[in-house]
Symmetry: C2
Subunit: 397 residues, 2 copies
């Protein structure tokens, strides 16, 4: 007889990092529901509910909207492996870690990857990019709508229109935006969007929502080469999730229960109310950290609401502040990496945490931790945050 394992007992954390973030209690409960078969009609009802509500979150009318049986990175691979053919030209707007990953995936597919680069933390000028796209005439243009490594939100109507002009498909990483701020996929001109479940959707990680425009589906149906990737092959997955329900793989049933419940929570609140909660929390946070004497790494207007990147003040140790914060409050925030390592904090305020009280709790905790590490706090973050934003109590949580 082997030694019994200790009971599973994760430490308490208030997840104010870039993700995973706090999961709604209803979502945890949903995962205790009995598993049915991956070919059970009930499972496909669950899938249909997910598909319908994912469209709302993505801001799309795309019929082909579903969730891959993998995490957000599997969503990226789905996009690249299905739509970037060997030998094709793949333009990537690169100003962060996830754009680098997208480039790498493109190279692994044997594409000719052309990168248009900016420093980490800057948004692209759409007209500049559009001109470049008209010149390069690529097959696919890829970019990151919400760059988790920098905090930049990239608008894309103009650059996507240019891509469509030259017959290119557009794909975008919506991993951090989905569920927390308007993705507006159709309005932004994005053909292929993908995301995850553990950020704005307040579910555990494990699924990757993906949506594909009718024009991209047409392209895919006409694609002559077979993708190397069988597991994430969208043509095979279409046969499983639509029409014939032909067996492909055994979908992770409990995670689909979780996603349906997460979407149901969003539906009950109303997605506009949810977006507003994230926007207000963001505005409070910015007012608070600026009052303390920090500045935001990303210019106003280009910021992701639910992923803030305040610059770490000169002489303050990133890791020490975060350790102190965690020890004192159970609050976990994240650091930067790559060129931003030690230079910014990455602070996610998402889902159940995107409320007035929680944002103030976070600001208070950060202020104390910074002060504890020798930073001369300029003004009171909590008071400034409260003064800056009026929270419409009646309407929101």
């Amino acid at each position: 007889m082997s030694t019994p394992l200790s009971p599973l007992n994760p430490p308490r954390r208030l997840l104010f990092g870039p993700g995973p973030t706090m999961v709604d209690p209803r979502v945890y409960q949903a995962m205790t529901k009995t598993v049915v078969s991956h070919l059970d009609p009930y499972f496909f009802e669950v899938v249909e509910d997910c598909r319908r509500l994912l469209r709302v979150a993505f801001g799309t009318a795309n019929e082909f909207t579903l969730a891959m049986s993998g995490t957000g990175s599997a969503g990226m691979q789905t996009a690249v492996a299905n739509f970037v053919e060997p030998g094709s030209t793949f333009v990537v707007l690169a100003a962060g870690f996830f754009a680098d990953r997208m480039s790498e995936m493109g190279r692994r597919q044997g594409a000719n990857v052309i990168r248009i680069e900016k420093p980490w933390g800057e948004a692209f000028d759409q007209n500049e990019v559009a001109a470049k796209i008209r010149e390069l005439k690529p097959n696919v243009v890829g970019f990151v709508q919400a760059e988790t490594s920098t905090g930049v939100f990239q608008n894309s109507e103009i650059l996507c229109a240019a891509a469509h002009e030259v017959g290119a498909l557009t794909m975008s990483d919506c991993v951090t935006s989905l569920g927390a701020m308007p993705v507006e996929l159709d309005k932004q001109g994005i053909d292929i969007g993908y995301s995850c479940t553990q950020k704005g959707m307040s579910c555990p990680p494990g699924l990757a929502p993906v949506t594909v425009s009718p024009r991209a589906m047409e392209w895919l149906k006409a694609r002559k080469t077979t993708p190397a990737d069988w597991y994430l092959d969208l043509k095979l997955l279409a046969d499983y999730y639509e029409g014939a329900h032909r067996y492909h793989h055994t979908a992770p049933i409990s995670l689909f229960y979780a996603l349906r419940e997460g979407l149901s929570v969003i539906n009950d609140e109303g997605i506009e109310n949810r977006w507003l909660r994230h926007k207000l929390s963001h505005e409070m946070f910015v007012a608070g950290v600026e009052a303390m004497g920090l500045r935001m790494h990303v210019k106003a207007g280009n910021r992701i609401w639910n992923l803030n990147t305040p610059v770490i003040p000169e002489g303050v140790d990133d890791l020490k502040v975060r350790k102190r914060l965690l020890a004192a409050t159970d609050i976990e925030i994240s650091g930067g990496f790559g060129p931003l390592a030690g230079k910014v904090f990455r602070v996610g305020i998402m889902g159940p945490l995107a409320t007035e009280d929680n944002t103030l709790l976070l600001l208070k905790g950060m202020q104390d931790a910074l002060a504890g590490e020798g930073f001369a706090v300029k003004g009171d973050a909590v008071a400034a945050a409260q003064a800056a934003v009026t929270w419409p109590v009646a309407q929101l949580v």
Copy 2:
């Protein structure tokens, strides 16, 4: 405001199919535990427990044992994408659906796939295969240890020894065997084994345990070409799960909690006791269906304990029997497919269902459903099953 969704309310099913199967209640509870970050030291403790106990289930000393963030098919793709290089020779022993899938994945990697074929339901003669391997001198030999589509268990000591003689790596699909019967990976000579969580492990689907021998890891480290598959790239995953814990993807934390708890349940029972439960249930089942007048599709000695394929008697309608069984008892069994469509039932007796009482319940249900569909039952399945096997009550559930 959108219409609220109905509460999640899956139908009651006793899952006696090939999987997913019944999940242990402790595993459902484990998934309600609070998610921590994918870089949290606690998460890596959970991972280490999983790795250690997976080795026991696989019957291996392989240091490199972990779980992919995808389902069993992602496990297969991990094996093929990492170890089958473009242009290499990949011999596949093909006598079932999952061997066909393995061949297809090999082709997608650009390998020269050579199939050694047998009718669905037959095991391979190891000496014949060994001779063929010596002749073909492939780079990799792939086969299915427990073929879910047919019910055949394939032994492999001799054929794997021949593969090693010619310098080939061996890979095997252990999707249906892991946790329910001895995989004996090291004894069987398998370099790369992969499985799932929703069969013998009694967890929900969503992770794919994978184990790699030191010689295969050496080969992988020396591999010059980069796999097209980034998400399942084992070199990158080694950096995430071992040593530096360098971020790769956000692992599905809740599913790792589930897997740890599932392994803990197995550890508490003792894996030999668990195997014995599956063996005895299998023996009862065979005695029962044979008493009814059915015969088993697979020869004695070649059968998977936890996945039985009784032949559907002449004149009996597969689907009608299964529908009647489900309606009367909530028991779900599965049909055959491909060349075995309409010819066999696929009956899984796994995990919490692999007990004397449940096996008798299943036999009674099948007997009534077959009789209801006009089959002239020869003898009483329950009595025969009880007479055939003595269940050591004191030791087992």
